[in-house]
Amino acid sequence: MSTATPRPGLGVTTVGLVHIYRSEGSDVAALSGVDITVRPGEVVGLLGPSGSGKSTLLALLAGLFQPSAGKVFVGDRDLAALTESELDRYQAVDGSLMLQGARRNLVPYLTIRGNVDFARQHAAKVGDEVPTTQEVVDLIGAGEIADRPLSELSQGQLQLGALAVALAPGPGIVLADEPTSALDHAARDRILDTLLDVNRRSGATIVIVTHDPDVAARLPRTVTIRDGRIGGEGRLGQEYAVVTADGFLPLPLHVREGLPPGTLVRLERDGENWRLVPEAGGLPGGGDDVIQ
């Protein structure tokens, strides 16, 4: 369908990623040591409570600003080492960020087609091969709304437009911040289907931030961010805790309820499994938790 050969999906590796927002009154540590690896062509969901740093991580992957510490590699690029024009080229062609809130991705006085053009033009100038506007419109199946004024479109249609804009350059990685929030189910599914379809067809890597468990359940891999750290991983809805590079194991929330801070635990081997045993005299009713 596309005349342009699809750009290969880009992998992501972050090492000890720390980001601190410095503002007048106080500093906020949004990320405090994130190590995450995404393989090329993978579809990953970022989960986590509000304020946990998901959007910040996405912005760092998109190169919107530099992390306070740590490194971000996208494909073979070290984002911190790029010159300004290289970074511009990365943003124009390879890494496409879809901001939270459909309208924020769209120039208000342009149609969807106009917006795709707007995003495409520059990419076409600096990138080698970029799909045509029509191809992008067809890709998301938005032919009938592509030329209507934005003010006439529903929230779902706008979100579709925002997605079209993000896909305009035929990116190697799509970073979508809550693309399905504030949508009804049909619209949500349409967006998600389109994203998965694009991934299937072009092999683009896709990172989706979401709060929605239904969305998370449809994603092959999810990563949960908690307090600026990797808090767990999921595979098609199944939750896992992840041992960090320096050997820590963040406990999932529901486990933490049973093991308040200060609780002493023993780790016992039980064949294939590990058993986590709270110290006797600890809390009553402390059961055995198994970690696979």
Binding site: L64, L87, Q91, A92, R104, V107, Y109, A119, V165
Partner: protein
């Protein structure tokens, strides 16, 4: 393009502002150019045709070939001048005297091409063949020359002094002419001499009389007139004199005047015999001066406006860029970089800016056309000097620079910042670094201007820079102040006021609005002050230089008659008073001005001075009453012991001398009356004589008179028992007679009733002691240049008879209304004591307290009835009109345009700022509506939110304007040439300035109120949309 459609209002505002900036820039050269033309045209028109034109005069002594022929004269005209001059009027004149030679009058014969069309023949015909003349009616009457009579004349000229050997002619009178006044005559007056029996009037004759051969003296055949004076008068063609060629015309004319036959023949006899006169160089100088002044004032005014317009345009552009942060963020997000963002933003603002240039240029042309017709009547021709295009180009470049700088902040901002919506700024008192620098620079420029350290462009911008500084600081202070006031209002429980004030203090529009209103009002105030000060100075100077509401120039030379007539018309001196001005002989001397102190101080105009503070009491007359006599004969007893002579030559020793009286007769003439000869070798007895005092005389001197050429003598004459027509006259004591030093004579008291005169006349024919009623040194109020350095020192003054009179300064006077710079004001009655004999250069005028035409007419009628002709009527308004028609005044008229445009710009900015804050406002108002406030309340709050800001900022602008006006004024030329007597009054014109400022504030407040009401009205609608 779609962006332009989306934000068309913004694009329109940018276009309007861009065209205003262009118009302001392009208007200046257009106006200056029109002003140049108007100045030249007015100066040319104000110059009498005879002065403006070129007059070539030559006589034939040295070089027949060059000077005898007016064709040659025509060839002398420099090529550069030819197009500006009309066809010349040739003329020839010859000085003649009537034969046979006795005490016969002289006159001149004149031929002037086409003269018959410019005289009216009251009888006879205009002469048309050689030997025929037309004479004036006066000449015919006074010298008894009827039509048809003949007249024998011989040539008479300074260089042909012996009429016996000069050419002669017999002339026949063919008619009596009357001169028809007009430019044709180039200012020549043909009559006037004969009426006063001073000589013949000009006699008109055909060319043949003057070029043909005439009779040689003593019957010796034929000769030509020896010294015909050739003239060629070339009238100026006013339409050919323009701002472009006047400088060249003036320079060429100046050279030509200096070297009539060219530099190579300078100093030769021939060139001495040729003179060229024209006031073209003076016209050129006046035009150049006026143009120079326009080049100070016009840029000064336009600079203020330009600065305001640029500020507003910049604010609008920055606002436009800010509104597009979202788009800028998207562009960055899609990898366009800051360069891409810049071009994205500029693509929206540049087209309206560029489109605004031709619109502004057209507006400037239109505005200039309007200004030409309304401000510069009569309208100079429409022109488009190339500087206009350069100015428009400059405007474009400045605006492009503004546009480029306006997008810098957004283009440079990190994406993360762009993605965040701008947080509402808090009211901060602290200035930013850039603002602080601008404020410091503006204040520095202003201080430099006040101390006189800068002029030129920086000085011209300084007034508005001050306002900018005030505005920037106010932009910080006003929101804080509003917040504080809001807090107070809240505390008092005034909910609506508190809401409005707190909203206003948060609004970013407030921060922009404050400096704009401040600067605009400052400009309006500055303009109003310049306009008013200019007008006031013109009015006051005209009043001071004219002297009174009405000044009548009197055709009489008899001070006594004039002062008697005026006293008869107005005995109390409340509505009319005589003024005599006696100009000094040499320049740089003091002019004596005689007035009646009380009446003069009441009737004269004293702008900027207080007549009551002057030392009028010092101008008293001498205490001694005048010695008046009436009668026809005098007799007296005299005793003269033998006199000593300074010469031993018996022939030089006079055998007699006579006592003498110096009197002023009833006609005002001063004469010496000898009272009968007395032998010098000893005499005692009575003598009598006749005196011309039937109508009364005033005795001013008593002394001795000796025959002409007698040797100096020394003696003592005792006079007693003097009787006039047998009535005894008391000569008084010696103290009533003032001695004189050269010739030496003094009075002393002898026996009772006798007066002893001791004299040593050292050869002079007359020696007098002067009566004490005749002042020796006249007290005068003197202007600064006429005041001697040492107190009590005397200065030379003049009496009405032209004789010298010592004056002392009895007090200072700032200026004499209607007088020159160097003037001494004296009591007119003290001038009258010596009388008036028609000599000297005294001018008589009457000052009237009213300018009402009917009052003037009635005074005029009465004066004429009393034998005092009125030759001219002057009012200050006439002079004021002349002042108003100058480059300086025209430049100042531009203040109306500048003030108006500043106000308009400010109103546009107000609307734009209120409209751009519409989104946040209507959200707030919708919130208030939902909180239960009525529509009225919300409307009120909306108004309360803007109007106080406008008034506060306007008040600061008023202060800045009033503060900067006195600094700017010294730069502004008010007149083409400074007044000799009236120093410019640069004090702030508070009345007009405050009035105009108040009007401007009302207008701005109304605009602000209407705009905010409109926004408030739409708040409901908007709320619905926001919810959607």
């Amino acid at each position: 393009m779609s962006a332009l459609r989306y934000r068309w209002v913004q694009a329109l505002v940018v276009l309007v502002l861009a065209s205003l900036v262009t118009a302001a820039c392009a208007f200046a050269p257009l106006y200056v150019r029109a002003l140049d033309q108007a100045v030249v045209a007015t100066t040319v028109r104000a110059t009498p045709a005879a002065d403006a034109g070129v007059r070539i005069l030559s006589f034939s002594t040295a070089n027949m070939h060059v000077t005898t022929d007016y064709q040659h004269q025509r060839d002398l005209v420099p090529e550069a001048l030819k197009p500006a001059l009309a066809d010349g009027i040739p003329s020839i004149s010859v000085g003649v005297r009537r034969l046979p030679l006795a005490a016969e009058p002289e006159g001149s014969l004149l031929w002037r091409a086409g003269l018959c069309e410019h005289v009216r023949m009251t009888s006879g015909t205009c002469p048309n063949s050689a030997g025929e003349i037309a004479i004036s009616a006066d000449q015919a009457r006074v010298y008894d020359q009827a039509v048809g009579s003949t007249l024998e004349v011989g040539e008479w000229d300074a260089s042909v002094s012996r009429v016996e050997v000069s050419p002669q002619a017999t002339l026949t009178v063919t008619g009596i002419y009357e001169q028809v006044p007009g430019d044709y005559w180039f200012g020549a007056t043909l009559t006037g001499a004969a009426a006063g029996k001073l000589g013949f009037d000009t006699m008109l004759t055909p060319e043949a009389t003057l070029v043909n051969a005439v009779r040689a003296p003593a019957g010796g055949g034929e000769v030509y007139w020896a010294e015909p004076h050739q003239g060629l008068d070339l009238p100026l063609r006013p339409d050919q004199v323009t701002a472009d060629n006047i400088a060249r015309l003036g320079a060429v004319a100046k050279d030509w005047i200096a070297y009539p036959l060219g530099v190579s023949r300078y100093g030769s006899d021939a060139s001495d015999a040729v003179t060229v006169s024209t006031s073209l160089p003076a016209i050129a100088d006046a035009a150049a001066a006026s143009r120079g002044q326009a080049r100070v004032t016009v840029p000064l005014l336009m600079a203020q406006l330009g600065l305001l317009l640029c500020t507003v345009l910049w604010l609008v552009l920055v606002g436009a860029a800010d509104q597009r942060r979202g788009e800028a963020a998207l562009a960055r997000l899609r990898g366009r970089g800051s360069g891409g963002v810049r071009s994205l933003l500029l693509r929206e603002t540049l087209p309206p800016i560029v489109a605004g240039v031709p619109v502004g240029l057209a507006a400037a042309v239109g505005l200039a056309a309007g200004a030409r017709h309304t401000l510069l009547a009569p309208a100079p021709p429409a022109e488009f000097p190339p500087t206009t295009a350069y100015a428009a180009l400059l405007a474009l470049l400045v605006m492009l620079a503004l546009a480029a700088s306006s997008v810098r902040r957004v283009a440079r901002a990190p994406i993360a910042d762009l993605l965040r919506s701008v947080p509402a700024g808090r009211a901060k008192m602290v200035l930013g670094l850039l603002e602080a620098m601008v404020v410091a620079a503006a204040i520095a420029a202003f201080v430099a201007l006040v101390t006189g350290a800068v002029r030129g462009p920086v000085g011209q911008l300084a007034p508005t820079l001050l306002a900018v500084a005030v505005g920037i600081v106010a932009a910080r202070v006003v929101p804080a102040l509003l917040a504080w006031l809001g807090g107070m209002a809240l505390h008092r429980g005034w909910a609506r006021a508190a809401t409005a004030l707190l909203h206003a203090s948060r609004r970013s529009a407030t921060r922009w609005l404050t400096p704009i209103v401040t600067v605009a009002v400052a400009i309006v105030v500055l303009s109003a002050d310049l306009f008013a000060v200019g007008a006031l100075n013109r009015q006051h100077r005209a009043a001071a230089e004219t002297g009174a509401p009405t000044v009548l120039d009197l055709g009489s030379r008899d001070l006594k008659a004039v002062s008697d007539a005026i006293r008869a018309i107005d005995p109390t001196g409340t509505s009319i008073t005589p003024v005599v001005t006696i100009d000094p002989i040499g320049s740089g001397n003091t002019t004596t001005i005689g007035v009646l102190p009380d009446a003069f101080s009441r009737i004269a105009l004293w702008p900027g001075a207080d007549p009551k503070s002057l030392a009028w009491q010092a101008l008293r007359l001498p205490e001694q009453p005048p010695l008046e006599i009436t009668g026809t004969s005098v007799s007296y007893a005299a005793k003269l012991p033998t006199v000593d002579f300074t010469s031993l030559d018996p022939d030089a020793q006079s055998t007699a001398l006579s006592p003498a009286l110096q009197i002023v007769d009833a006609a005002g003439a001063t004469t010496t009356v000898p009272l009968g000869a007395i032998p010098t070798d000893g005499f005692q007895g009575r003598r009598s004589a006749t005196i011309p005092c039937a109508q009364g005389c005033r005795v001013i001197g008593l002394g001795v008179s000796a025959p002409l050429g007698a040797a100096g003598m020394r003696g003592t004459l005792i006079l007693s028992d003097l009787r006039i027509d047998d009535h005894p006259l008391d000569l008084g004591t010696a103290s009533t007679w003032r001695p004189s030093i050269s010739p030496e004579i003094a009075a002393s008291d002898g026996a009772p009733g006798a007066l002893t005169l001791t004299f040593a006349n050292s050869g002079q024919t007359e020696a007098f002691v002067v009566h004490e009623s005749v002042p020796q040194v006249l007290p005068a109020l003197t202007t600064a240049p006429a005041t001697p350095a040492a107190a009590g020192a005397t200065i030379g003054g003049y009496l009405v008879d032209g004789s010298d009179q010592l004056l002392t300064s009895a007090g200072p006077i700032a200026y004499v209304p209607g007088g020159p710079a160097r003037a001494a004001l004296v009591n007119l009655d003290s001038l009258l004591i010596r009388g008036w004999s028609g000599r000297g250069s005294a001018k008589l005028t009457a000052y009237l307290s009213s300018s009402d035409p009917s009052a003037v007419a009635s005074v005029r009628e009465r004066l004429t009835g009393l034998g005092i002709p009125v030759t001219g009527v002057r009012h200050p308004a006439d002079l004021e009109r002349t002042f108003a028609r100058s480059g300086a005044a025209w430049s100042l008229k531009l203040t109306t345009v500048v003030g108006g445009l500043a106000l308009l710009t400010c109103a546009v900015a107000l609307i734009v700022l209120i409209a751009t804050s519409w989104r946040s406002r209507s959200r707030d108002y919708a919130g208030l509506r939902m909180a239960g406030l009525t529509r009225r309340d919300v409307g009120l709050i909306a108004m309360l939110e803007t109007v106080p800001v406008v008034l506060l900022a306007g008040g600061l602008g008023l202060a800045a304007g009033l503060w900067s006006a006195p600094a700017a004024l010294p730069m502004v030329p008010l007149f083409t040439t400074p007044s000799a007597i009236f120093p410019p009054d640069l004090r702030t014109a508070y009345g007009p300035s405050l009035l105009v400022a108040a009007a401007a504030l009302v207008i701005l407040a109304v605009v602000a109120a209407l705009a905010s009401r409109y926004v408030a009205r739409r708040s409901r609608l908007d709320r619905l949309r926001e919810a959607a």
